[in-house]
Symmetry: C2
Subunit: 140 residues, 2 copies
């Protein structure tokens, strides 16, 4: 029993905006947000640069997430009055601290999701096919 963690139970994603952890989950329980933040950790990035790094993300999705992150004060948008236009996004002081979260994610990933220890992460999260896991435990 490592750290008992006095965490209070929380409700669904939609309803749990009351507690700080709940809010964090609402915000960071989104793969796109995590990926964007991750890429911004390297330094400022331009809109299309991000788009490229993220593979196939639509402008819609990207600008949506960026706007949210901006409104929350984690990302700063900086537009240069040039032509053609240039806009750079970078993490704010607060946003930088998201690095800790990413870091803990990475540590976890490296430790437990590194090898092909799993049939296929995709398969798991996608369909609910038949699988054996490590064989369900029975008792009593």
């Amino acid at each position: 029993m490592p750290t008992p963690l006095p965490i209070a139970p929380i409700e669904s994603p939609e309803a749990c905006a009351g507690t700080p952890l709940g809010r964090a989950i609402r915000l960071l329980g989104d793969a796109w947000v995590l990926l964007i933040v991750m890429n911004l950790l390297h330094g400022p990035q331009r809109f299309n640069a991000l788009r490229t790094m993220l593979g196939r993300i639509s402008t819609k999705t990207l600008s949506q997430r960026l706007k949210a992150l901006e409104e929350l004060g984690f990302v700063q948008r900086q537009a240069f009055l040039e032509i053609p236009p240039r806009v750079e996004y970078h993490l704010t002081e607060q946003g930088q601290e998201l690095g800790d979260v990413i870091e803990s994610l990475e540590r976890f990933g490296k430790k437990h999701l590194a090898g092909s220890a799993v049939p296929s992460l995709d398969t798991c999260l996608t369909d609910a096919h038949e699988a054996s896991a490590t064989e369900t435990t029975c008792a009593e």
Copy 2:
């Protein structure tokens, strides 16, 4: 400049299953998974107990996530041969380490998402309405 974090850029949620961090994001970039893990941190929980804690999650969604977590070896399912049936889910050794991630989420939330510092987290993540953020910066 805290920790430069030598993290390599990653692609979209679907494609980035190659790197450990990518996998972690795929798995934990899901609010339900985070919430479930969070509640399991307290100790073993029964199916319907979890359902209640999570507010309005459907049996489908819940069993889906639990199955995924089980296949990945982070959750252990334990069925008791009783009647009425009883099934308990608990975190495995590996799953316990998800506590670190949750913890970092909580720290972040407490620090930056505590007060009403934000117009409304929901609003941000929901619609892409007009908002001013802290006023976009211009330069050059």
